[in-house]
Symmetry: D2
Subunit: 269 residues, 4 copies
């Protein structure tokens, strides 16, 4: 299976880049599955149903979220009706929406996507390791699903790497989101799982994690509330990871970063 | 000036890689200045004077530290005598050692290196932004020094990017350390300062931030003290950034990542 | 039922005060049930089996723990054999020991004691609210048990108060531990549950949370590792709360603080 | 000097209690100096100039603030004109307002009041220990001022106690605020400084730190944004500490808690 995972879409610049480029990428890379994190699409905070629809229409198969899941409240009812948009699985019982989804992939294949949140330097939540473990047990890789993608939304590199090693051999891809900076440690772990600590964002990299740099940097100098942060408006770099898997095992056979547009060094799988 | 900055050396694997490869890199890349972060050299925790001497002998011009600065206590008196090994500048008044150093560079040039620690998700320390600002004022770039390198040792990508933008145009390079994962966002900021959110480590990447993956991952599953963590022993990837600067202005003209050895994708400036 | 809850025993000074005074308190106050937190008994860090035996012999019916549960490793096998010593209930599945215990009380009565850890400003753990809720459902107050005591080991006052209100009417007493300072907000909540934000410690109050004040205060001035902290050795104040309950309902009818010995203002129920 | 310090005023209930009771307390206790923390007066978030004026008119000599200092933006210009309202001293250089004030006290006496914020589990700020030390050096106790009061606004009991011991003998009173729960550890430290870990709040104690208990407790069960929190509206308990000092030395001779009104056990100096 040919898979593209793209990191957090930030603001208009990120949305535009996604909608403009993904149709071409699907075709040129012959993609079977596109997953993108959408938690910052709406002015940096949350995702509106309209934006989700636009991403799905442009070629996303699944949209994941994170700590900004609820910043746009209209997403709550939408998550119940649109199963392809998922929120972190380890929110407490009773939380609206779902933390995992199985989608059909051309060729009579199926893929599981799980979204989970780390806990180091983040809010207290249920155990993401056991939550993922339980979900994987329901959909064994290489049997009921041909690919499994885990979006682990964490602050700390150590926690993301612990996810990678804990599920090495049980998922096609473990990839981090949330820090908005792509890492250069893409690899296939010894058990066959593709891994990258952070996918990076789809946003303007002349910024502070996608937000306008002046105001955002000032927050580290002054400790007074300022104007509300707004997304930077320069051209976005679309950041993500391409993974090719073996449908028989669901494990990765090739991994290559993608960075298109904007300020970052360009690379194409 | 031709500069190489290498990230946190972790354990024996990282030390060996540094000592074996840096002499060749100095020659092949015609380097004028090599700076490396050494806070995890000693079994993952701290730096001993012997190790520091070995790194200096192998071609390091300056060694920086971080939150693990004091894990090996023998470093305390050594920092007073060996000015080329520096600890974060924003430790409180009275802390042993120095947070910045000016070193001579062949061709009658001089370079300032500053080490600072972020505060987001880290220990309470003095303001690193104002501490850097004061140090830069003492050694204006392009006048009393031909290059200035800021090693910003932080957990959060936002804080590192705030350092980059705050000192864009005032330093040759702002580079992060501490997360042990190289980022792929190397760039020259609009003001002329080279920037990368994290240099990555010099260590084995089949690990959790350089430590053996089994025990380190288990810590996220269990909440009981286990055995002491030990560094992973596979071949290290030497991770860092090459920067070329204009001696007249001290600003960057070229930036290119370096990843040599071990599991990560290989790249040479 | 006449209940005394005492806060964290810190070091020798706290151990001595407990062992010397509790037999007399049991008699003078005609106590039916004594619960004490023992997480700092051993030089400030953990609880040894010998100490636990001494506390049980001196009149403790149940000993609770907290984030220092595992500082003395010998406690691990002991927790499996001595059910009256419990550790926080919301450690992950597979953790040794138990998070709750039902003990017999003279007069053919039974009492449930639960120990739980908060998550605000503390380590990531499972949800303590739902863990307590499940335990309470197994042992309904006023039916299978005549008293229920919840020791909520938290940093933040807000989280402790949230426990109090969440379980008001379902427990005889919700009492906090961990901050080592007794609070003066003892009260019976509207639903009939006795409440106090923190029981305080059994330790020397001329100290920093029971540890020698010189070294402990210095840690806020300097950011270098110093000598290992040791418990303060002045006379301890035994700090806790007396609660009288109605056996028919299990709810509180009277609540009064106890502070005996040492520097704090003295009060006796 | 006869001093009353009152903890954080929360919402209308706390404001009403302060304005109604303080005039009588000034008279009955023959108070020379009244200091109160006002950071939560405005619906739980910040302090408006009108409220500050009302507190000053009702008998406050100095009003301190904390992490909520800037929640009501109108306070910013007001802090420049009304020197009796102070914000934490360890905000960064350039922050509006002042962190300390010397006020006249009847009988030709003067008192220094300093407000400082802790850093453990709180935002990164400048070093509060050295900031207080510098302020105390300007106004030596028993010489240029007859009383010195330090309001240390902290989360952690350890940090507050470190303030107490660090400045024991150099201040009349070191008292904590921020946790909104009065502690029962009032004492005169060996060097002569009165101390209490937290003054408690002036607010309704059938609440979560002064806010309505239903919504506030729910936040620990659910991890979704809810309605904005509002202050609880039951009768407030006025919580604070009375200290009597020797004008010759500025040190404390007597310390006694005050709790008046509302749900908490009542006590009057
Ligand atoms: Fe994000
Ligand atoms: Fe996020
Ligand atoms: Fe490091
Ligand atoms: Fe570090
Ligand atoms: Fe504790
Ligand atoms: Fe404790
Ligand atoms: Fe506060
Ligand atoms: Fe407050």
């Amino acid at each position: 299976m040919r898979i593209l995972f793209l990191g957090d879409i930030v603001g208009r610049s990120g949305r535009d880049a996604f909608v403009e480029r993904v149709p071409g990428l699907r075709r040129d890379l012959a993609l079977d599955l596109v997953v993108v994190n959408g938690e910052n699409a709406s002015h940096g905070f949350g995702l509106s149903p309209d934006m989700a629809r636009a991403f799905l229409a442009a070629g996303a198969d699944v949209i994941t979220l994170g700590n900004h899941a609820w910043d746009r409240r209209e997403i709550v009812p939408y998550l119940e009706e649109e199963r392809r948009v998922i929120r972190p699985i380890n929110f407490p019982p009773g939380t609206p929406g779902f933390g995992a989804v199985v989608v059909d992939v051309p060729g009579n294949r199926r893929a599981l996507v799980v979204n989970a949140m780390g806990r180091l330097f983040m809010d207290p939540l249920d155990d993401p390791f056991r939550a993922i473990q339980a979900e994987l047990a329901k959909h064994p890789l290489g049997r009921s699903v041909q690919a499994t993608i885990l979006d682990v939304h964490c602050e700390a590199t150590s926690e993301k790497q612990a996810f990678g090693h804990s599920f090495d051999g049980m998922a096609s891809l473990v990839i981090g989101t949330h820090t908005h900076v792509p890492t250069a440690d893409h690899q296939i772990l010894p058990g066959g799982t593709a891994y990258q600590t952070d996918a990076g964002m789809c946003g303007d990299f002349d910024s502070v994690i996608g937000m306008q740099k002046g105001g955002a940097a000032l927050r580290f100098w002054r400790k007074m509330p300022g104007e509300r942060l707004a997304p930077a408006e320069g051209e976005a770099t679309l950041c993500g990871l391409f993974v090719e898997t073996d449908d028989a095992t669901g494990l990765a056979t090739r991994v290559a970063p993608l960075r298109q547009g904007g300020r970052l060094s360009q690379t194409m799988p």
